[in-house]
Symmetry: C2
Subunit: 187 residues, 2 copies
């Protein structure tokens, strides 16, 4: 499972074998089956998760049981309830598996430790967070000003492989449109 993580870090910063082994020693592994929960509302959120294999979603369920999807994560992406993770509070999101998944888990304590010990890892996580910030700003703009059709087309263009793997009901929930609207757009 470690080769994927090394490639992922090395997209931003080169690492020696020794450095990578040291970093890897701060991760634990986790395997989950399709439909299993990684995090449920009110859980204490200990870890951020790097997806080695599989597909997950993080969502908020309102009082009427309606689901709003905050993010998907497939291979080479990270997922957790970031608000709860960074502030070490309990989850307001549910995270579960759309496919069988293999994960590498990094606690906040270990993340802060390797960031503090290795400047290049602090650099890696700063860059990742900057990229994530920009992606979220684009999504906000798209929620504010784009039609359902435009949002659908943007997502299809950005993440074509998601469409092969994620049921349409969930895509609709991510885009904030009804299942019926999505069916009309994608037919």
């Amino acid at each position: 499972m470690s080769i994927e993580l090394r490639k992922h870090f090395e997209k931003i910063t080169p690492l020696t074998d020794q450095e990578f082994d040291y970093i890897l020693s701060h991760f634990t592994t986790k395997k989950l089956k399709k439909h299993q929960y990684l995090i449920q509302e009110e859980d204490t959120v200990t870890n951020d998760y790097f997806v080695v294999k599989g597909l997950l979603k993080a969502s908020h369920i309102d009082k009427e049981g309606k689901e709003y999807i905050m993010q998907f994560a497939m291979e080479d992406w990270w997922i957790t309830d970031y608000q709860a993770y960074f502030s070490q509070t309990t989850a307001t999101l549910h995270i579960n598996c759309i496919e069988d998944s293999e994960l590498l888990c990094l606690s906040l304590q270990n993340r802060d430790k390797i960031c503090s010990e290795l400047h290049k890892i602090e650099h890696f996580f700063r860059r990742k967070s900057n990229l994530g910030y920009v992606a979220l700003q684009r999504r906000i703009l798209s929620l504010l000003n784009s039609s359902a059709k435009e949002r659908y087309e943007q997502l299809l263009l950005q993440y074509p492989s998601l469409f092969q793997r994620v049921p349409k009901t969930l895509i609709a929930s991510y885009l904030g449109v009804s299942r019926e609207t999505l069916s009309r757009l994608s037919s």
Copy 2:
């Protein structure tokens, strides 16, 4: 203008006088009057801006001239077109002043330089970006699942001082609701 910046950094990391003077030497200053533009669409985005005094907004204007507000920034906040800044491309947002403003400007080159030279500054910007990421996730969830009333109340709770300073038309544009809806909510 520098005391505000020092306080801002020291909320996350302590600095010696020498370190702070060195950091400050990488910033330039800018003063703008109310209504003046800081960034216009298609401009090359060179800097990120720390607000020492004043109030600005970053927005997207669509083909019909309708304005969608990405963010406000007042004292102790940062503002730029982050997509353009991090990828060193041209702006898709407009940024202008709601009040006379005093700014400290940091180029991407200088930001990367001080992050690389001072590990604690890389740490500062990682932490800031993490906090920003979580705030944007909360806004996405609020756009997906909250009513106009709830969004208005959340904003009022989070940033009460914004409401004293920002015209209601702009608050409506930030929340993605009509001016009429907002008037009804806030009356």
